[in-house]
Point group: C2
Chain length 335, copies 2
Amino acid sequence: MSNTIHDVARQAGVGIGTVSSVLNNSRPVSQATREKVLAAIDKLDFIPNSSGRRLSMGRTDSIAVIIPYFTSVAQIERLRGVMSVIVESDYDINLFTVENAPQRDKVFQTVPRRGRVDGLLIFSLNMRDKDLKQIQQGKIPTVLVESFHPELPNIYIDDIAATRKAVEYLADLGHQNIAYVGDVLEDPLGSSFNQNRYLGYCQGMENKGLHVHPSFYRVGWHRRAKGYQVGMKLLKQTNRPTAIFAFCDELALGVIEAARELEINVPSDLSVIGYDDIELAHFAQLTTVRQHLFETGVQGVELLLNTIDTPNYNAGSIQLETKLIVRQTTVSPNQ
Amino acid sequence: MSNTIHDVARQAGVGIGTVSSVLNNSRPVSQATREKVLAAIDKLDFIPNSSGRRLSMGRTDSIAVIIPYFTSVAQIERLRGVMSVIVESDYDINLFTVENAPQRDKVFQTVPRRGRVDGLLIFSLNMRDKDLKQIQQGKIPTVLVESFHPELPNIYIDDIAATRKAVEYLADLGHQNIAYVGDVLEDPLGSSFNQNRYLGYCQGMENKGLHVHPSFYRVGWHRRAKGYQVGMKLLKQTNRPTAIFAFCDELALGVIEAARELEINVPSDLSVIGYDDIELAHFAQLTTVRQHLFETGVQGVELLLNTIDTPNYNAGSIQLETKLIVRQTTVSPNQ
DNA sequence: CTGTTAGCGCATTCAA
DNA sequence: TTGAATGCGCTAACAG
């Protein structure tokens, strides 16, 4: 079918060991034979069979990226960051998306195996002990992005502080009725950042002496359509909030659409603040918390590649900064 | 390191052939031994080593998805479609992004090889003869999405007709000065759809007896920032267009931002029409040509999986419909 | 029905 | 400096 190393060896009139040597520079080869081999390789358009190489080397030269909520723009932005560095490397990316618990279980059971991938990059999924055991006993290098486990290196941001500051910013503008539109706290896939953001919200409210009213806490999935629904409910309430902190930009935009439909002017009648700073946020002039999504992808793979290539690499955790980007959806109330 | 089939065989007190048999149901096994084997597999938490399996089977159970312009929302939407079906299958996805000619060359030279992947799904890249030769002599099943080659099955839309209709719609509204904001015609990665859309624009203009003015044809990369720049130039011209057809939604939104900054009201002073119908288009109330991006991904993999699984599968081409979605960025001029 | 063996394509060790 | 032999883990053909 395809040319093998034997074909090249025959063509060049040498042994396969010699061909392998020039392919990998694994041992000295005389200039003359090297040239013969290279000529044969070129003539046959030979590229070593990946499967054979994997088996022999015990390496796969590929890493798995595991992504929940693949519909989320934020995840895509991270993946872009990953690809931007992987393109320059010799690794392949195996992409796994996870939308529900069975899918997560299947991935965590089958993917972290020797001979499958050389490393794991996991987005936004907290590990259960069973998953961790699998990873650890297989000694599969792993880096978490936007999630946490005491035993694993990760790239993270201080969600609590970032959210707290955003809420305090709203309070400082003079808002008292600040609602929280977020994700369900008990994420079926096990994420903690939603809880952290809610925590930050509560802290911010408390710091400013504001009451966290139960009817001001609403959850939905982080898609725009859901933000629209939740926003509708919230804005039709008799005690309507004057400001809303949304868990992510997509939710925030859904809220804005709801407000638009109810003819509630943003920002004069309603301030909205998002989270992520996706590209759409710029277009919509949305005030938001910028987390450097692309950068988390970049740092995540880089950390992972280092742990793979350097045995006993001391992979610690890396915290990235956030920044409140004030645009045009937040002003003082009744202005 | 990891448990192998031999460990399982020893644990169960059988031969490796028997273990392989129960793993693959490749030959009848007595109920008693089957249970012994299953118990051993369970006890050792055994999953067959992927590299060994690949080599032995001559299959990789993975397919490559090759994507240029990974920054484009449209490509992401297609990829989502792909992942939605792949999750239900037993195939892995190897993701390759391509941002320039050297990267394309490298991917096409190294990826379409037996032992590397079982199939190729290629987005928006026209093949050169050299690339095609590689694919054909390796007999790697391949499906193109949004690109064309007479020898390869593809998923496509009628770009020319769709653009023509969009332009005719603008003309019917009464616009005469209709500009085209598009991609460079000579795409360095070899795409034809940009040329097709420009062609459709010209046809539409001609059908309506309108003149294609050179200063009304502007190109940039399909990112919003570029749309902004191009839009700025176009809108500062003395002979300012009253309507703009943009090659893709992202460019259209950039144009709208430029208009916003120049205090040119959309749509009363300027109609804008995009292409793709990305999610952002809905938020921005952008009139646009909807092509079913997610669906192209779905159909693309499905077609590919069929060609892989069914020898001599007659994979033809599939044309998907487009639809003009009229929202709020297009009205009659001077209204 | 089941154990043993050959071979997938490669890197690498052992001999020469 | 190089060729030949061994083994990576598995499937499948072969032999019992």
